[in-house]
């Protein structure tokens, strides 16, 4: 399903698309007033602005909406994490969504250009270390700008072939250099 370029080619090609390693992933919904308790349960304080990201070690939290965060942790820690939230007294909803999504890393000098083939946001202007939900062609995505030339793109599992297929066409287009 995935058509990715040979990693050895990254020196000459402006773009690389590869599946991201699997992580435990949870969708957390909670009243922002209870944010700090949730941060304690997670072990990393939650960001306080939509689009912001906080990270400590291999745990990461991304705020997507006023009362919505995505939490990431190493796969092996998923169960324990869910257990800690079960004992969180503040009303909340924690739902595992690690299987719902597939994630890809889009890297290279032309990464932003490649994504802007079908994403209407100004990804050059997007600050590194921020995230947003948006669209790529007809696919709803969660986009994290890890650095100037590195993006993490997540979409629902069944949309991934479309996303990757389109990125493969765009790779060829950029490689043609016109």
């Amino acid at each position: 399903m995935l058509k990715t370029l040979d990693p050895l080619d990254t020196a000459v090609l402006p773009l690389r698309v590869a599946p991201a390693p699997a992580l435990a992933r949870f969708t957390l919904r909670i009243d922002p007033a209870s944010r700090s308790m949730a941060g304690q349960a997670f072990g990393v304080s939650l960001p306080e602005r939509i689009g912001a990201l906080s990270q400590e070690g291999d745990r990461r939290a991304v705020q997507l909406g006023p009362d919505e965060w995505v939490l990431y942790a190493p796969e092996a820690e998923g169960q324990a994490l869910a257990g800690r939230f079960r004992s969180l007294a503040e009303p909340h909803s924690l739902v595992a969504t690690g299987d719902r999504e597939l994630a890809f890393l889009v890297e290279g000098a032309r990464a932003a250009t490649a994504l802007m083939a079908a994403c209407p946001l100004d990804l050059d202007a997007m600050a590194a270390g921020t995230a947003t939900r948006t669209v790529f062609d007809k696919v709803a995505i969660l986009l994290v700008k890890e650095s100037g030339e590195r993006f993490r793109v997540e979409c629902w599992r069944s949309f991934a072939p479309h996303l990757v297929g389109l990125l493969a066409v765009i790779e060829r287009e950029l490689a043609a250099g016109l």
Binding site: R100, L121, D137, S158, V169, I170, A176, L178
Partner: protein, 999 residues
């Protein structure tokens, strides 16, 4: 070198020669040529036949405004394009072009008889001539006209090219890279703004590309152009897009650009798209689109060899091509004089410059005199002669009253005309900016803008080079400033000789009143001055109506060369000033744009998203036949050997009812509803009562709109006091989630409950049939599957193959049923393991078709099939689901509306045809009395209809007026070839007591 090539002029690459063909004839040109310049260099003027009269036509213009020279270009299989303007088609090695709208050949065209019949084909001829007799239109007139009139032929093969799209964002977008646009770009870029410059030409420079005499800051204009482009390219903040047409201006400075990426290449690199559609969001826009020269309207102004004076100058100076050897210049504007001087200096005979004005500047007269050109001031031209190419023109002095005097014939092989210049305000007009009529220029100019944009150069009616540079700098600097970049605006000083005065003429006074004389206003749609006047005589007053009646301005060129002339003639005929006659609306795209550019990547596999389940690959390997359901593709049935769908479905039905069937239900929508108020939320939203549903139990949930009509349904399992697993229909999942968010965010923000889509978190495998439990028993851990511990409508969490499992005991078939939910990534492995475990029982994979049959046998509805947005729970026989004690839920008040409690509603019933072998057609209408006259009173329709393998006969579900009171009655289903009779029955055809559910 060909006869018409000039040695010392032009920007073409003379060292390389390109071969091309036109109508099969081989010619040669050079890189830098357009097809038009290359043909003219070979002396070819005749390139097409006109739309209506099949008159021979040549090149009118040298740019994208060309109305006549439309050709077909064949780049190989799937790469034929009709109606390409030869004036913008860049020459490449091996180009194959053909003329259009002629039969059997361009120089001998049978359709030209239309020209002789001209008086019949006047304005509105479609509406008038062919009204009678009725019926003649389709059979006689229409086919004949379709054959005779028209432009190119449509391609008959799928487009083999690929197309791309891109979003871009910049501080300043400059449209047009003539002197004004480049000055604007430079001013913006030097201030530090991120700039994009789009120009439709192969080379940037606009008018500078054909200007050999002007200088900027002491260097020739061409040198200034090269220096400027170098500087822009070196800044790193400027994107230069040649071959890129700004096709439309949309809200908030989104401008659509169509970039032609490979059309100019004989061999395009693999992976490169043919065209790319840019959607540019600019914080500021500068429009510097220039101006389009107006033709003069006189009899015979369409004869090949008659062209715009500016175009002839461009062909000479930019392409090194003489458009003829003897050029008569007829004009109402100074600019044609400059063209005449250039041509004369290049060695072309200019027998006369005819100007409709009685006086022009002394400088022009002096220069004409110095070059030995006769000048005719206050003259008109009343006709041209020549069969396929102009050979002479008749010119007449204008008397004191403006009447033409005795004619004089001037031999010539081309007539260069100019009626002045029309500023290009198309994009400004797209942006909803207000246009203002300039009486002095006789043109519409950009007025107050509605977006963050500025206009500069000839597009604002400033026709001098110095003016273009100044307005460009001013616009570019101001745009940068408003985008947040301040800087010193550059200054440029131009030295030029061009004069730019002129007068506007509606059409030229003519000496001849002949009905056959045609003075064309709109060349592409063959509209004459007479047609416009006729429309006014017949009572048309608004320019919008005159446009549609005469079709002026409605061709693919959208009247670029004709609108203002048409308007001036209408204005004169109406006796009203132009601003009161109005102006037709400019609409995108600015020039014809391929469908491919708009489609972009969305073709083939990428045409649309095809969602596939985690088990899809197994279905594909096992030769499933798929069907689309919403964006999903689902296995419809699994034919074995040469089975038909009917045979496969019968087998799948038998296996499921007799042993066990396995079904991929992963597409079912799933929403996790979590929070202390989860039950209260579901109480308010769904018709059912939820408070008393114990954890570990499921209930069928029914969702209505506020209007009381069914919106969705699905099984809801309570996993814990504060956690529900809600399922929805496959197609309804996003809608239900949105409805839930809507109520939670806007109506009940007090509720502590949240919803999360888990549709794709879980792969869902349904096992149905008497052996279903046996298949699962050895695999499931942590759940006691015995009927006592895990009865119908139970839900529990456990493991299967060591993986997390949510197991539902539910049935959509009426058989003992389980739904195995496992994390999506493991769906395929679990499916394969279950198939293996089911082998001893003859487990049978089934698809959506069998699922439909089995549920219909049980009378289970499918939302969207049994319901259509006007069906209530009572209509569907689901009134039992409503929690009667609840004070309120979404749809409760709606159900009490007068129309919903009235009698005569269509209610869901079963139908059993008198002929048990006949399967009714879904959607078929139902009547009570088949003998009544047409139109019959239709009392309902068939919603589902199948062959029931379990019953050995056909079954159907239907919505029928008062159906629930009609049990046992006979209804009739009239079809085109027969009327079928059926008895109204209950909706549960199979196992009415529901005993099989208990397995």
């Amino acid at each position: 070198m060909s006869r018409f090539r000039v040695a010392d002029r032009g920007r073409i690459e003379r060292s390389r020669t390109l071969s091309f063909t036109f109508d099969g004839q081989r010619y040669q040109g050079h890189p830098g040529d357009t097809l038009a310049s290359a043909l003219l260099a070979n002396g070819v003027h005749l390139v097409g036949r006109s739309f209506k009269y099949h008159r021979p036509r040549g090149f009118l213009a040298a740019g994208s405004e060309e109305p006549n020279a439309l050709v077909g270009v064949d780049r190989g299989p799937g790469r034929y394009e009709p109606n390409t303007r030869a004036t913008v088609l860049e020459l490449f090695e091996g180009l194959k072009a053909t003329s259009q709208n002629r039969w059997p050949s361009l120089s001998l065209d049978v359709g030209a008889v239309n020209d002789a019949l001209g008086p019949l084909f006047t304005a509105g001829f479609y509406y008038k001539t062919f009204m009678w007799p009725k019926g003649f239109w389709n059979k006689v007139y229409e086919p004949v006209i379709r054959h005779a009139a028209g432009l190119g032929r449509a391609p008959d093969k799928a487009d083999a090219d690929t197309y791309a799209s891109r979003y871009a964002h910049c501080d300043v977008l400059v449209v047009g890279a003539g002197p004004a646009g480049l000055a604007a770009a430079l001013a913006s870029a030097r201030a530090g703004a991120k700039v994009m410059v789009a120009d439709e030409g192969a080379e940037m420079g606009g008018a500078l590309l054909s200007d050999l005499s002007s200088r900027v800051d002491g260097v020739p204009a061409s040198q200034w152009l090269a220096d400027t482009l170098d500087e822009l390219a070196s800044l790193g903040t400027v994107t230069l897009l040649p071959r890129t047409t700004a096709i439309g201006y949309y809200h908030q400075n989104m401008v659509g650009l169509c970039q032609r990426v490979t059309d100019h290449l004989a061999n395009a690199p693999s992976g490169a798209p043919r065209e790319r559609l840019w959607r540019v969001r600019a914080s500021q826009v500068v429009l510097a689109q220039g101006a389009i020269e107006k033709p003069l309207v006189f009899a015979g102004n369409d004869r090949p060899g008659v062209m715009l004076a500016g175009a002839a100058r461009t062909y000479l100076n930019r392409y090194g091509v003489k458009v003829g050897e003897r050029a008569l210049v007829v004009t109402a504007h100074d600019s044609a004089w400059e063209a005449a001087f250039d041509l004369k200096q290049a060695g072309i005979a200019v027998p006369a410059i005819l100007d409709t004005r009685r006086a022009v500047s002394d400088a022009l007269l002096a220069k004409a005199s110095a070059l030995g050109i006769e000048t005719l001031l206050g003259w008109t031209v009343s006709g041209t002669a020549g069969r396929l190419r102009v050979s002479s023109a008749t010119v007449n002095p204008l008397g004191p009253s403006g009447k033409p005097g005795a004619g004089r014939r001037i031999d010539c092989d081309c007539v260069l005309m100019s009626g002045g210049w029309t500023p290009s305000v198309h994009l400004f007009s797209h942006s909803m900016g207000k246009l203002e009529w300039s009486e002095a220029l006789q043109a519409y100019l950009p007025g107050e803008p509605r977006e963050a944009l500025r206009c500069a150069g000839a597009g604002t009616g400033v026709f001098t080079l110095q003016g273009a540079l100044e307005t460009g700098v001013e616009a570019g600097a101001a745009a940068a400033r408003d985008a947040g970049f301040a800087g010193d605006a550059p200054r440029f000083a131009a030295q030029e000789e061009a004069a730019s005065a002129g007068e506007a003429k509606a059409d030229l006074p003519s000496a001849s009143g002949s009905a056959y004389a045609k003075a064309f206003v709109d060349f592409q749609n063959d509209v004459t001055a007479k047609d416009v006047r006729l429309a006014v005589r017949e009572g048309f007053r608004s320019i919008e109506h005159i446009k549609r009646y005469t079709t002026t301005g409605m061709a693919t060129d959208q009247g670029k060369t004709s609108n203002i002339n048409g308007l001036a003639i209408a204005s004169g005929a109406l006796g009203k000033p132009v601003p009161q006659v109005g102006l037709t609306t400019f609409r995108p795209p600015f020039t014809p744009t391929t469908f491919g550019a708009f489609i972009g990547y969305a073709k083939g596999e990428l045409f649309d998203v095809t969602r596939k389940t985690p088990i899809d690959s197994w279905a594909e390997r096992n030769r499933a036949v798929f069907e689309p359901v919403a964006l999903w593709r689902r296995a419809r049935y699994f034919p074995k050997g040469g089975e038909s769908m009917e045979e496969a479905v019968r087998r799948e039905c038998r296996a499921t009812r007799s042993s066990v069937g396995i079904f991929d239900a992963s597409t079912l929508g799933k929403i996790e509803v979590v929070g202390p108020d989860a039950a209260e939320f579901l109480n308010r939203l769904y018709v059912n009562a939820w408070t008393k549903l114990a954890p570990g139990r499921c209930r069928y949930g029914l969702l209505l709109g506020e209007d009381g009509f069914i919106r969705d349904d699905g099984v809801v399992g309570r996993l814990a006091q504060d956690r529900f697993h809600v399922t929805t229909t496959t197609g309804g999942a996003p809608r239900v989630l949105s409805i839930m968010e809507d109520y939670l965010q806007t109506e009940w923000p007090d509720l502590k409950v949240w919803v999360t889509s888990t549709t794709e978190e879980w792969a869902v495998i349904a096992l149905n049939g008497p052996d279903a439990r046996r298949v699962l028993e050895g695999l499931v851990e942590g759940i006691d599957l015995s009927p006592e511990a895990f009865p119908h409508m139970a839900v529990a969490e456990g493991t299967i193959m060591g993986l997390p499992l949510r197991l539902f005991r539910v049935s959509f078939t009426g058989e003992l049923g389980f739904e195995v939910n496992v994390p999506a990534r493991h769906g395929l492995a679990v499916w394969e393991r279950l198939i293996e475990a089911g082998r001893p029982y003859g487990i049978c994979p089934y698809g959506t078709e069998t699922m439909h049959v089995l549920r219909a046998e049980k009378g289970y509805i499918i939302v969207g099939q049994e319901t259509d947005g006007t069906v209530t729970p009572g209509d569907a026989g689901l009134g039992w689901a409503i929690g009667k004690a609840k004070p309120d839920f979404v749809g409760k008040r709606g159900l009490a509306r007068p129309d919903l409690v009235a009698s005569g509603r269509r209610q869901l019933v079963g139908l059993l045809t008198d002929d048990p072998g006949h399967v009714l057609e879904e959607g078929a209408q139902i009547v009570l009395d088949p003998a009544q006259s047409v139109p019959m009173k239709m009392v309902g329709h068939v919603t589902s209809s199948y062959w029931s393998e379990a019953l050995g006969r056909s079954i159907a579900l239907a919505l029928v007026e008062n159906g629930q009171a009609l049990h046992g009655a006979t209804v009739h289903v009239p079809m085109p070839d027969a009327t079928f009779t059926a008895q109204v029955a209950g909706t549960v055809f199979y196992d009415p007591k529901g005993e099989r559910l208990n397995g």
